[in-house]
Amino acid sequence: MNSAAEARFRIQELCSYFPTVKVIALDTPSERVVRRVATGSWEHTTFLTAAAFSGELIDLAGRPRNLTDEVDEADLVVMVATPGGRAHAASIIGEACSRRRVMTTGVVLGGTSAPEAALSKTLLQLRPWSLMVVIADPEDYLDNMLVALRA
């Protein structure tokens, strides 16, 4: 039996799972991107900002959101930063994720062509708390990544 014929008999069932994702902007430039991405159609994804972090996250309508509560219901937390930005919330968010064994991804937008010092500064803040780091130039990488993850 050739490979195509064999594959015809696979069980055909649509995946109905959508992970609960929290996308958190860590600085002002990344918040601008996150606000744009949030206008898309997403299943179980919440968009938040920690650009002016002082212990609580803020949703895009300006309401405070409890970090622990948000992490508790997450399958994945995506922290979005830009090179040289103020990503100081990464350690607090990352620690909360680590305590609850929640997967973290750090996305550095515009990092490919950034000056070394700026990128180093951001990586130093993100790396200890990100189980996956992506350094991407296209601003729509975040959109594409979330689609690929069924967010």
Partner: protein, 428 residues
């Protein structure tokens, strides 16, 4: 997850398809030079990008890659006679030169111009690094010759093998980009395989089975970094190169040769997996060459007289459940190459990516797909040459290095990631 139309876009490479047009922008490996070992040797069937061709080497040593079928009645020219500077159809004697030009139609009168009106589709074949490369795109868009380092070092520094893989090219490529499978699928082989064992870097690998991955765009594709803790707060990085569309280079270990792959579509359900092994600054030892010939490392043993692996889907890849149970092999399949091929072929001829459930560590695969889609659209819509054609994109190396914790590996290892003649690879 991909939408169906995206999956179709990336996996279909036949004539007239967008991805087929992208592949036809590059020089791609077509045959091993050893398959046409001498002038007037037997022709070889070649199927690439869903086109059936025949390759031959004429009386003067010129290589030809032409439509497999005679223009007269559609007979396969593989049955033909390779003689007197041409390939002659065994049915009625029509004869073609290496450019596909018919040079003789015996049934026509002497001096008849008829043969000149018959031209088979033909592509160039150039020899480089023991490989015959072809460019299947328009001649006016032919790119510069390939400059991948494994193909440009002295012949005694490099060896290349190939094997048939019975699945679409993309899922094979994605295995090469997916560094997170190594700690599972290949566990057990790092310390025993002659082309891997003994490197200090192996201790970092085995001491930390959960590396952190970092994906960064490169000019020609991607750098995929796998990070593990090293001494004094530093990180041990293994940096894989992906050069678009289908080339990968695995990070080196110790003074072992560097290795990697090309995945070349045969058709939509099969591809060639090319596997190279080279060292930039020294000849390969006889032990290393013997190991490659014995199917060690990323190479395979073959079914006699073919490039089909001896372990294949028809014999369940010679699965050894006892070795699996005893922990001698995580997968039960012998060797890195067939460990990869067995799982990738089991996904089906073209995996249905609308159903997959990717996770965050799959970001290398996600980014590669995005880069491919962007490149295909730019090529089709605007005629923009895709990344990976520029020889500078091909003069790259993978690397294994130790760097400070805040340093972007693209910068900290910038020199190590470029192929420099007579400079040893950065390897731990």
């Amino acid at each position: 997850m991909l939408k169906k139309e995206q999956n179709d876009l990336l996996t279909q490479t036949g004539p007239g398809t967008p991805m087929g047009q992208l592949f036809r922008s590059y020089w791609i490996p077509a045959l091993l030079a050893e398959e046409l070992p001498e002038n007037d040797c037997p022709p070889v069937r070649v199927k690439l990008l869903s086109e059936r061709m025949v390759a031959f080497r004429d009386t003067n040593g010129r290589y030809g890659l032409i439509d497999e079928f005679c223009a007269h009645r559609g007979v396969s020219l593989w049955f033909g006679r390779n003689e007197d500077c041409g390939l002659r159809c065994s049915y009625h004697g029509w004869k073609y030169d290496v450019t596909g030009q018919c040079v003789e139609v015996p049934s026509e009168p002497d001096g008849s111009p008829y043969a000149k009106t018959v031209q088979l589709k033909a592509y160039p074949l150039i020899e480089l690094g023991g490989i015959l490369w072809t460019h299947m795109g328009p001649p006016e868009q032919r790119p510069p010759q390939p400059e991948f380092e494994f193909a440009t070092v002295p012949p005694e520094h490099s060896i290349t093998t190939k094997r048939v893989q019975e699945c679409n090219w993309l899922q094979a490529l994605e295995g090469g980009i997916d560094s997170s499978h190594v700690s599972f699928l290949h566990r057990g082989d790092l310390n025993t395989d002659p082309l891997f064992k003994g490197a200090r870097g192996n201790q970092y690998n085995l001491g930390d089975l959960r590396p952190v991955f970092e994906v960064v765009e490169s000019p020609g594709g991607l750098y995929i970094g796998a990070r593990r803790n090293a001494e004094n707060g530093n990180y041990y990085w293994r940096i894989t190169q992906w050069v678009m569309p289908n080339f990968t280079m695995i990070p080196p270990r110790g003074d072992h040769p560097i290795h990697g792959h090309f995945w070349v579509p045969i058709d939509e359900e099969n591809c060639w997996t090319w596997s190279y092994e080279y060292h930039p600054t020294r000849s390969l030892s006889s032990d290393e060459v013997s190991a490659v010939r014995a199917g060690k490392g990323i190479h395979v043993k073959y079914e006699p007289g073919s490039y089909r692996p001896l372990a294949n889907k028809d014999n369940d890849y010679l699965m050894d459940r006892a070795a699996q149970k005893a922990g001698r092999s995580f997968s039960g399949v012998e060797g890195f190459a067939m460990q990869d091929a067995s799982v990738q072929e089991s996904m089906g001829p073209i995996v249905d990516r609308t159903k997959e459930r990717l996770v965050s560590t799959d970001n290398g695969i996600i980014m590669a797909r995005i880069r491919l889609i962007i490149a295909v659209k730019a090529l089709i819509d605007k005629g923009v040459a895709p990344p990976g054609i520029d020889p500078a994109h091909q003069r790259v190396r993978s690397a294994s290095v130790i760097l400070p914790p805040d340093q972007p590996f693209k910068i900290g290892a910038s020199e190590a990631l470029i192929a420099r003649p007579a400079v040893a690879p950065a390897s731990v």
